[in-house]
């Protein structure tokens, strides 16, 4: 076997041009498969990151209208009651759920100001005790709200570091007054996002939002204070912390079902605006991958036929060698193994070259198009196995033809 492989390698080397031309179909096929898979997986990885959110395993469920988060600044529609504590208790019991809590959320243009500097598209959250811990924010300056502040409607605020950087320009914000929806608040603390990384978006929507607004930053106020700034009986969103990323979507779905039971208006429903879109996009990219890999496989088929053709030529060329070997006592399977090995080695070498080319191609495309680059190790093994399989599949006919040659006929040729 090893002897056969060495012999085949020598044969490939001694017919360099012919071997390369024969392998071309396999090289192109494998290279395109690897490039396609790498690019799609890179895109998926990026999507996945966006689905994971900020990495704290928290998924939010809020009132949606036509799959978009409903903006309560235009009033509370009838049929949407506030979230009751029994629902939260139920959600906490669900599989995979670590913690759950309700919060108010608003995002809008210029609702938060320090002097004349505004958070152009800042987020305002009305939170209860424990929320900061759950979303993995830590007080980095000043203090957390006191128990009293959480419930009694004090106008105090905690801002995150992004908001501080945008509004305070290096000054210490603790003790300063800011304006939230035209009401004055005292900043008591600064919170640091423990999971903050570059370019992390909580949803696909955010990704697009951020492309035209550079206004980031979050401001937390006690949930008890929310009605003073915004409105009474405004339904909350529910934040659910799960054990791992995979449970985010199922937990969000179960929680939505629980909350939907209390809705009397069919126009609205609870759901997670982040994620769903991403899942759909992922399904789409996977479908595209399947289609493209299918097309690339056609090139492998053509490559395989090329290999079969050249192997038939090789059998004819080496008729006398085969005849001699048979005359000297080589059994059919010896001849068969020799030619099968040769075609398998030929296509495997082609496959390896294709993988190298494909990775290079993927790297180039992802760099040019600003996509993420991910080499799929399983696909590399699949490709090598696949190209070897093509060699064996398309080498079988020529090899069998060679093994059945009549030694007398074969020796008489020259």
């Amino acid at each position: 076997m090893i002897e056969n492989i060495i012999l085949s390698m020598r044969g490939i080397w001694s017919h360099k041009l012919r071997s390369i031309l024969t392998m071309l179909g396999v090289i192109i096929g494998i290279a395109s498969i690897i490039a396609i898979v790498s690019i799609v997986q890179g895109t998926n990885r990026k999507l996945e990151k966006s689905l994971i959110g900020s990495g704290n395993n928290v998924v939010s469920v809020s009132v949606l209208q036509d799959n978009w988060e409903y903006d309560f600044s235009s009033g509370v529609p009838s049929g949407i009651p506030v979230v009751n504590d029994a629902s939260i208790a139920n959600i906490k019991q669900m599989e995979g759920v670590v913690d759950a809590g309700k919060f108010h959320f608003r995002q809008g243009w210029n609702q938060v100001f320090y002097k004349d500097v505004g958070l152009s598209y800042g987020k305002i959250c009305g939170i209860n005790a424990g929320y900061l811990d759950m979303v993995e924010y830590q007080i980095s300056a000043g203090r957390d709200f006191s128990e009293e502040e959480y419930t009694t409607g004090k106008k105090v605020a905690i801002i995150d570091e992004s908001a501080r950087d945008i509004m305070f320009n290096g000054e210490n914000p603790v003790g300063e007054a800011i304006e939230i929806n035209k009401e004055p608040f005292v900043v008591v603390g600064v919170a640091k996002n423990l999971n903050k990384q570059e370019e992390e978006y909580e949803s696909i929507n955010d990704y697009y939002m951020n492309s035209y607004s550079n206004g980031q930053g979050q401001v937390f106020i006690p949930d008890g204070t929310w009605p003073i700034v915004y409105q009474f009986d405004e339904p909350e969103s529910v934040a659910i912390k799960v054990e791992n990323v995979k449970q985010m979507q199922p937990a969000a779905k179960m929680a939505s079902e629980e909350l939907n039971m209390y809705l009397t208006s069919g126009e609205y429903s609870y759901g997670s605006s982040s994620g769903e879109g991403g899942e759909e996009l992922k399904m789409l990219t996977n479908a595209i991958q399947l289609m493209l890999v299918g097309i690339a496989s056609l090139s492998l088929l053509v490559g395989g036929i090329g290999v079969m053709n050249i192997m038939l030529v090789s059998v004819t060329e080496r008729t006398s060698e085969i005849g001699l070997k048979k005359a000297l006592g080589a059994k059919r399977r010896v001849i068969m193994a020799q030619f099968l090995t040769e075609s398998a080695v030929l296509t495997s070498v082609g496959g390896l070259l294709g993988i190298i080319l494909g990775i290079g191609l993927a790297k180039l495309i992802s760099t040019l198009a600003g996509l993420e680059f991910a080499v799929s190790i399983p696909w590399i093994f699949i490709s090598v196995g696949f190209s070897m399989g093509i060699g064996i599949l398309f080498g079988a006919m020529p090899a069998s033809k060679a093994s059945k040659l009549n030694p007398i006929e074969a020796l008489r040729r020259d």
């Binding site: 002897e3 060698e321 001699l324 005359a327 000297l328 006592g329 080589a330 059994k331 030694p407």
Partner: protein
Amino acid sequence: MILELSNIYKTYQQDALEVPVLKDVSLSVDKGDYLAIQGPSGSGKSTLMNIIGCLDLPTEGTYQLNGTDVLAQSDNSLSEIRCREIGFVFQSYQLLPGETALHNVMLPLSFAGVPRSKRKAIAEEALRRVGLGERMNFMPNQLSGGQKQRVAIARALVNDPNILLADEPTGALDQKSGAQVMELFKKLNEEGVTIVMITHDSGIAAHAKKIKYIVDGRIYDREEDARHAILEEEQSAEAAESTESKEA
């Protein structure tokens, strides 16, 4: 008795026509024999060689090779028999051009299932036996015709076959190299190798201990009978021609 052919017929089918090539050939070879089968071209000697070498099967008759009924064997077991029992020497050497002399000689060992580690030593020994100990790593195109034929003989001997079967072994050689090959055959026969040699050349056939003559598919023990057969054949051909011309 190593080899016994009895009442062998071989008929080729050419379109609708049946062409008899061997007619009632019986032949036996003992261990240690050195037999030459001499005949003109077209006499059926190549066909006889193919049958003796188990490359082809007769249409009729029986062939016992070292106790095995050759006619009852499958393609694969014929390969095995050729590997074990027969060493071929061809007129045109039939060496693999891309391999060294040593590797050419090692080839049949791999078919016989000799472990890789032992092949080299056995092949080297065989090359020394034919006087090519110095040129083991030469490529065939770096060797003279006589040397190539000696590599082929080493290759034929390497599996220690019961019969060395040579088809016009000197046909492609000059007189001097041919004589050297004949000397080598003589030496090998003295060492106990059974040789069957097929040739058209009476000078070459004379080196054998025993000669049989083949004419028109029939085998003769005595040269006179063969001559007679040739004459008869010529006469009948002439007669056929004359009847043809008369008819025309």
